[in-house]
């Protein structure tokens, strides 16, 4: 990182690397009422203003990538949605697209199967966004909105449950197609529910834009300008709230996103309200897309599942998709057997951390919960440990014990960490 942006991810052993004008250091997490997810925030403050914020991640390494190397490609189809609790369908979507490409069946997948995959992804985006702005309202001290939005979220959860047999983890996709069909009677049952949900989300939008008690809390708070956004590279709604109109669905269309009508939502203000409105508008857009998909399903026919052999031929492929939180990227290496050689997941939350830390500079400490929530943190998929020596550029990857041992030695004998 350049001089303009001080290096984040610094260790704070004796406070020597804190910014000089800070007079207090506030620690949030990993166990804290705010934190649903284990992250450790170090906020340096002067009076009530934040001078600089730092983050420490790495409390929740579950080793999904390593576990995938010990399981077959078919088994991994059910392991990969567990990478994230909420965006399970999009992780599975990218995985099956990687496997489809490696197995060479990408062109044989029918339009109907692709539409069902898309429905699953869009339904997930709807319930993820509604969940997010409910929690945001809770963090801003507006609990009424939390209860109202989560009550209305049940509508889309019921639709997902009806289609897939599970509320949060639909797991409809398989390499080569989809597991279940959406028959006509189910689609007819879902359409009026989607209409109802659209009315409710419009009401939520009205509350967020008009109600003074929530709007004052979000407007002009945590502004991330377009220039800062370009330097800190946020993705997903965080970037779109700051005037970066980038969406993987538009830029690199996958499945059938180039065949149906939808608009890219972005705002230029860059404050928390803009991020919220991006998500609200995206929810409306996704509901509209879901309706289109259900209409298209009536007229399209096709085989749901193409047979994919358990052994995947040698090769590697990188695939990405737009998760509710941002850009999600998978890279798979196949070695000709039925297990992957290596599988890499780059989940969206990691890309948004730096922009969020930039957002905190100069804000009031009372606004921290709202700003920390703004990028929809999800650390279950974010954990990576790499230590970089700034002077030499040396990179080492170590475990926790080794880290502690090194840190204690460095402190005791007063020498460098490396």
């Amino acid at each position: 990182m350049t001089g303009e942006f001080r290096s984040r991810f610094r260790t704070l052993v004796d406070g020597s690397d804190a910014p000089p004008d800070a007079d207090h250091h506030i620690f949030i997490g990993p166990q804290h009422p705010w934190c649903e997810e284990p992250a450790h925030f170090i906020i340096h403050v002067k009076g009530e203003r934040v001078v600089e914020a730092d983050i420490r991640i790495g409390f929740n390494l579950r080793g999904i990538e390593k576990a995938m190397e010990n399981k077959t490609w078919r088994q991994n189809t059910m392991l990969i949605p567990r990478a994230c609790g909420i965006c399970s369908a999009v992780h599975q979507n990218i995985y099956v697209r990687v496997v489809d490409r490696l197995a060479g069946v990408e062109d044989q997948i029918s339009e109907r199967a692709r539409l069902i995959r898309m429905f699953s992804c869009e339904a997930e985006r709807i319930h993820s966004h509604i969940l997010w702005y409910g929690i945001l309202a809770h963090d801003a001290g507006f609990d009424t909105m939390l209860h109202v939005s989560w009550r209305d979220r049940e509508i889309i959860m019921d639709i997902v449950e009806d289609f897939s047999g599970n509320r949060v983890n639909p797991a409809l996709m398989l390499p080569g197609g989809v597991k279940r069909d959406i028959p006509k009677e189910k689609a007819d049952r879902a359409k009026p529910m989607l209409d109802e949900l659209e009315k409710k989300v419009l009401y939520h939008k009205k509350v967020f834009t008009e109600e003074a008690s929530i709007r004052n809390r979000l407007e002009d708070v945590g502004i991330l300008t377009k220039e800062d956004a370009k330097k800190t590279t946020p993705n997903g709604p965080t970037g779109r709230g700051s005037g970066l109109p980038f969406d993987v669905r538009k830029a690199f269309p996958y499945e059938l996103y180039d065949k149906i009508d939808w608009n890219l939502v972005y705002y230029n203000e860059g404050d928390i309200l803009a991020t919220t409105l991006v998500r609200l508008d995206e929810t409306l857009e996704s509901i509209q897309m879901c309706k289109q998909i259900l209409d298209n399903l009536e007229s399209t026919q096709g085989e749901l599942l193409v047979r994919v052999k358990p052994r995947i031929p040698e090769g590697n492929y990188m695939s990405r998709a737009e998760a509710p939180r941002g850009e999600d990227l998978h890279f798979g290496v196949a070695n000709g057997t039925d297990t992957p050689e290596r599988y890499k997941i780059r989940a969206p939350s990691l890309g948004n951390i730096d922009a969020t830390l930039k957002r905190m500079d100069g804000e009031y400490i009372a606004d921290m919960p709202v700003i920390l929530r703004s990028y929809d943190p999800c650390f279950s998929c974010t954990n990576r440990v790499m230590i970089i020596n700034e002077k030499t550029g040396e990179k080492i990857i170590i475990d926790q014990d080794e880290f502690a041992r090194k840190a204690i030695k460095a402190k005791k004998y007063n020498r460098s960490f490396f």
């Binding site: 078919r74 088994q75 059910m78 047999g165 599970n166 279940r180 509350v207 008009e210 008690s213």
Partner: protein, 155 residues
């Protein structure tokens, strides 16, 4: 643009309605689990050819199998380990597996009763009675040891 009490209508409506939880409890009886809910697998013994596909595709290794040939063998299930993904149903070549839709299933699953954890879902030919029962007892005993160890660990 900014107003106060935009949600006032909602508040008044809720006052008239009374507590929401009461309505929910009333409604649970009218809302059985959906027809297509995914739960644990069941095997139709007449169709099963003991190919072992369900055992190899299972992501959680909750299915186990012993067999001599395609007519003689048994498949057992560790219910607590099954995550209800339905992979075995998808990949079964003979369409012998269907997914159980018993609505009271979730109650029995989380009972922490060791005896309910293991289940022989398919036993055919010479494995039918004695061998299957013995295996099931062995499994339950082994599971009991694990459970005991866990309890000691918890303290």
């Amino acid at each position: 643009m900014k107003k106060v009490l935009v949600m006032g209508g909602e508040a008044l409506k809720n006052l008239a309605k009374g507590p929401v939880t009461k309505h929910v409890l009333k409604r649970i009886a009218d809302h059985p689990p959906p027809e297509d809910i995914r739960t644990i697998p069941r095997i139709i013994e007449a169709r099963c050819i003991m190919c072992g596909t369900c055992v190899t595709v299972c992501p959680t290794h909750c299915l186990g199998m012993e067999k001599d040939d395609k007519d003689n063998g048994m498949i057992w299930l560790q219910r607590a380990q099954c995550m209800w993904c339905g992979h075995c149903q998808t990949y079964c070549p003979k369409d012998a597996i269907h997914i159980d839709r018993e609505p009271a299933l979730s109650n029995s699953l989380f009972s922490f009763n060791n005896r309910q954890d293991y289940e022989m879902i398919c036993a055919s030919g010479s494995y039918k009675e004695e061998k299957a029962d013995k295996k099931l007892e062995d499994l339950i005993e082994e599971g009991g040891k694990k459970l005991k160890y866990l309890e000691e660990f918890r303290g």
